[in-house]
């Protein structure tokens, strides 16, 4: 079956999601460490 060739958009969106979530998680852990 022929699909639109837009897999790169999907990959970029998933990478951005992972980066934002992981960076925020790390920033929280770092701030807890700083404040404790």
């Amino acid at each position: 079956m022929q699909y639109p060739d837009n897999g790169a958009y999907m990959v970029v969106a998933y990478v951005i999601t992972a980066v934002v979530v992981v960076v925020y998680a790390v920033s929280l852990a770092w701030r807890v460490k700083q404040e404790s």
């Binding site: 639109p4 958009y9 998680a25 929280l28 404790s36």
Partner: protein
């Protein structure tokens, strides 16, 4: 157990929950990218939906909870409530970044444009900027009572916006698709795709809980530090 110890225990529990949710997110990525079929007309880019919609859900949930807690703060004047509201607002902003970056990427390939100033997208951008203002204001106002009161007013404005954003696709002509889940009729999606979406919504919700617990713990730890510093001086 001191207040500081309780905050550290809360932060640790938040980190465990966040860790579980991050593992769940890896599972969602694998399920969405490998085991969920490609939609015929939109192609692989349709799979952006499995992160975009749950991020939007988590962001609007966070802003709605901030607004509800703001109302409760104005009633009870309890600073703990204000701190949890602020924690929820910051976490909402993090999820908004995911929503507002993945949405245009999907839009570019499906609609042919990165952005459209229609009601849904504009109101979503507005709530994001409103809570950026909330954060900036909290950093600028020194008096805790005044800061909490101003924050509560902005939080309630955000709460009013949340149902409006949801309804924009019905009230206005917009490029954005109608809701798939949160609507009176049954979900408009094949079962296998729906399971991926619901799993992702669940994971983002757990992630929200873990993040808010940690962010609230940070607020308590800062309070404890400030109290100790003022006691010394």
């Amino acid at each position: 157990m001191t207040r500081r110890d309780r905050a550290l225990a809360l932060a640790r529990r938040g980190q465990v929950i966040t860790g579980i949710a991050l593992a769940g997110l890896v599972g969602v990525f694998i399920r969405a990218l490998v085991f969920t079929p490609i939609e015929r007309t939109q192609g692989p880019a349709q799979k952006i939906f499995y992160v975009h919609a749950p991020a939007a859900w988590a962001a609007l949930l966070a802003f709605a909870i901030t607004g509800i807690l703001s109302l409760i703060y104005l009633w009870l004047k309890d600073r703990k409530i204000d701190s949890i509201a602020a924690a929820s607002a910051e976490v909402g902003l993090a999820f908004s970044v995911v929503m507002l970056t993945t949405g245009p990427i999907w839009g570019k390939t499906v609609w042919g444009t990165w952005w459209s100033w229609d009601a849904r997208l504009t109101s979503t951008m507005f709530i994001f900027l409103l809570f950026i203002g909330y954060r900036v204001m909290r950093g600028a106002v020194v008096d805790p009572e005044m800061r909490a009161r101003f924050s509560a007013v902005i939080g309630i404005m955000g709460l009013v916006l949340v149902p409006f954003i949801h309804m924009t696709v019905y009230l206005f002509r917009t490029l954005h698709p109608d809701p798939v889940l949160l609507k009176p009729s049954s979900p408009s999606m094949p079962g296998v795709m729906l399971v991926t979406l619901l799993t992702s919504v669940g994971v983002f919700t757990v992630l929200y809980v873990g993040f808010v617990m940690q962010r609230y713990a940070i607020a308590i730890l800062r309070d404890v530090k400030e109290e100790a510093a003022s006691a010394v001086s």
